[in-house]
Symmetry: C2
Subunit: 223 residues, 2 copies
């Protein structure tokens, strides 16, 4: 059985939880706090980051959510998520990078710092300007999602892909932290509520972290 | 013919230049300055980052160096660089992420900011503490490279892979900016000088940017 070293509000861990569930890969969760990484965790992932994944029977340790997603794609046939001709696969991976790097850096990381780490771990006052900037950038990223959804059935094309799971994982963390203003983003809201209704999403919607409760609409699959 | 939108000291662009040359894929270079990105470049890459790559005949626009590397791997048979069983491929991709994210964030990005952007583009004084921190972290990353090279023929295993090209691309930018102290890193130095001697590396070693000249050892394949 796989053990996923994760943090409940880590969007990269969430992406893998969605992916494994969609592909029917069983796993257990091992909580790790990215703000207080244990010495021993560096032996599992020298980058010192969640997620990392272990399989004792296979004597395997994997790290980095994109490397792990590619591994799952190559080894588990069910529900391919990096699919189609090479150009489509490149488009899926471009969007994965856009959400894991730009959306993460512009929006998710500042929200996690200001609304979770500072409040719960570091006991500092949130920087309201950083929060305002992040929420303004969230709005621009959602505009781009709206544009994609208005032109395609799913973010990267005709079928659900790792791009959708990656984007939804990032958005879900920001939504948990009250950082998404859904007004004016009907297309993305519709796409997100379809994803939210999937069985793979339910464990993410019922996760709670100490010290930060989500807004009421967060776990409402009809919202 | 491919057109690679690049910046001479962008390590992600350098990785693709090495990869395309190793795979024998012809391309032309289109310079782009990441500190003064043109409006029109956002139409090519909505993430506003180098590298991006276009092929007019194929009507294709690709972005993100990892997505592009996977595309080349899938479409060009010669010299596979993400090779072997799934576990090896996961190890290659883990190391690609380690260099593109951790080494980049800890070392390359601060060096580029302090020793290039502030000097040449922004006309600000470099922050000597940021430089010292980056060089201390460079040393730790090179320790990890030494450890890998002492246990394996190449960074990710028995054959040269995208991990080697990625690491060498990052290191080459930092070396250009005088940020690598090679003392005590004989293993990595040996590995790097083998890479430096390859034909694919020569164009990188002869590139120069305005306002910042590399130290003498930078282009010396015997150093
Ligand atoms: N590229 C990595 C990014 C992982 C990442 O940044 N994880 C965060 C938690 S959400 C972390 O562990 N941060 C701690 C650190 O960077 O030291 C992936 O895709 O897995
Ligand atoms: N994940 C991207 C990273 C590319 C990247 O960060 N490029 C830098 C130049 S070295 C850039 O364009 N920065 C400008 C920006 O982020 O706005 C890749 O692998 O291609």
């Amino acid at each position: 059985m796989w053990r996923l070293h994760h943090f409940a509000l880590c969007p990269f861990s969430r992406k893998l939880r969605l992916l494994m569930s969609e592909k029917g890969v069983p796993y257990t969760l091992e909580p790790e706090n990215p703000w207080a990484l244990r010495e021993e965790f560096y032996l599992i992932n020298p980058a010192g980051r969640t997620p990392a994944m272990r399989h004792e029977d296979k004597d395997l340790v994997l790290a980095d959510s994109r490397a792990i997603a590619e591994y799952l794609e190559e080894t588990v046939e069910k529900n391919p998520m990096i699919n189609g001709p090479a150009a489509n696969r490149a488009e899926i991976r471009r969007l994965v990078a856009l959400f894991d790097e730009n959306f993460w850096g512009d929006v998710t990381a500042p929200l996690l710092t200001e609304r979770y780490a500072k409040r719960v771990v570091l006991r500092q006052t949130p920087d309201s300007r950083a929060l305002r900037d992040a929420m303004r950038l969230a709005d621009q990223h959602l505009d781009y999602c709206d544009y994609l959804i208005d032109h395609r059935r799913w973010l990267a094309g005709a079928t659900m892909s790792l791009a959708d799971l990656t984007a939804a994982a990032q958005i879900s963390v920001v939504d948990y932290l009250g950082g998404i203003d859904w007004r004016g983003h009907e297309s993305t809201r519709g796409w997100y509520s379809v994803l939210k209704s999937r069985p793979s999403f339910q464990p993410l919607l019922s996760d709670r972290v100490d010290g930060a409760l989500p807004p009421r609409h967060y776990a409402d699959v009809n919202a």
